[in-house]
Symmetry: C2
Subunit: 137 residues, 2 copies
């Protein structure tokens, strides 16, 4: 396979955009894709709708309460989720989180990459094994 000229042009435009003065901001957004919990939170809110803190904890059994809070803050800061505090103290505090339109669009635009990874996971495994073997031999 070889990249077509039109594709190369598109990549050039994108790379230029990714290298401008807002570099840090854009890579910060991209970081959500690689974070340990962001995907799980966004996916859960996207498929199940608005949820409370404790419901998210139950939906993601291995997350710690601290990491959930941190992840939610970062996603909220970047406009991917919304936080609604009912300001209620009795019988319990009530805070709900939901995906924003921006968050939903992120989910949709992550699809190609996710599918690509899943489709090629066997190749990745093979490649890592080969690489490890080469390092020994």
């Amino acid at each position: 396979m070889k990249l077509a000229k039109a594709q190369i042009a598109q990549f050039s435009a994108i790379c230029e955009a990714l290298s401008d003065e807002d570099d840090d901001l854009k890579r910060g957004i991209l970081a959500h894709a690689g974070n340990r919990w962001s995907l799980g939170v966004v996916y859960t809110l996207g498929t199940r709708g608005t949820l409370r803190h404790a419901e998210l904890i139950r939906a993601l059994p291995k997350i710690t309460q601290r990491m959930l809070t941190l992840t939610l803050r970062r996603l909220e800061r970047d406009g991917l989720i919304s936080r609604h505090d009912y300001q209620q103290k009795t019988p319990h505090p009530r805070v709900e989180y939901g995906l924003t339109t921006l968050g939903e669009s992120m989910l949709l635009n992550m699809l190609p990459l996710w599918n690509w990874i899943i489709e090629n996971s066997a190749a990745f495994r093979q490649s890592r094994d080969d690489f490890a073997a080469r390092e020994l031999g």
Copy 2:
């Protein structure tokens, strides 16, 4: 906007796949998307073809020699780039790097996410400013 049922089903399948026993491997691949230099290296090799170590240094002015080596190793380990050592010592060593077919397909599957980030960068900036303002007020 609301996610369609068909989309939710697709997300469910993907999330299940992303949560299986190969979780670490797949998230490791996803990490390339968030790494500081992986995108630049993959993009450069994709648009300019096979390049030597020193040529990549010149193409990415701000990268250090150490980070280039580390990035190349990780990409090679996962089968995204290939390394060809000509085993030549005079007049100079000669090692060339190029994108594999897998690497090219990654580039193509990253496009939607990149475009999404670029299209919405103003919204991210706005969201971060609002968030910072809320923290103060």
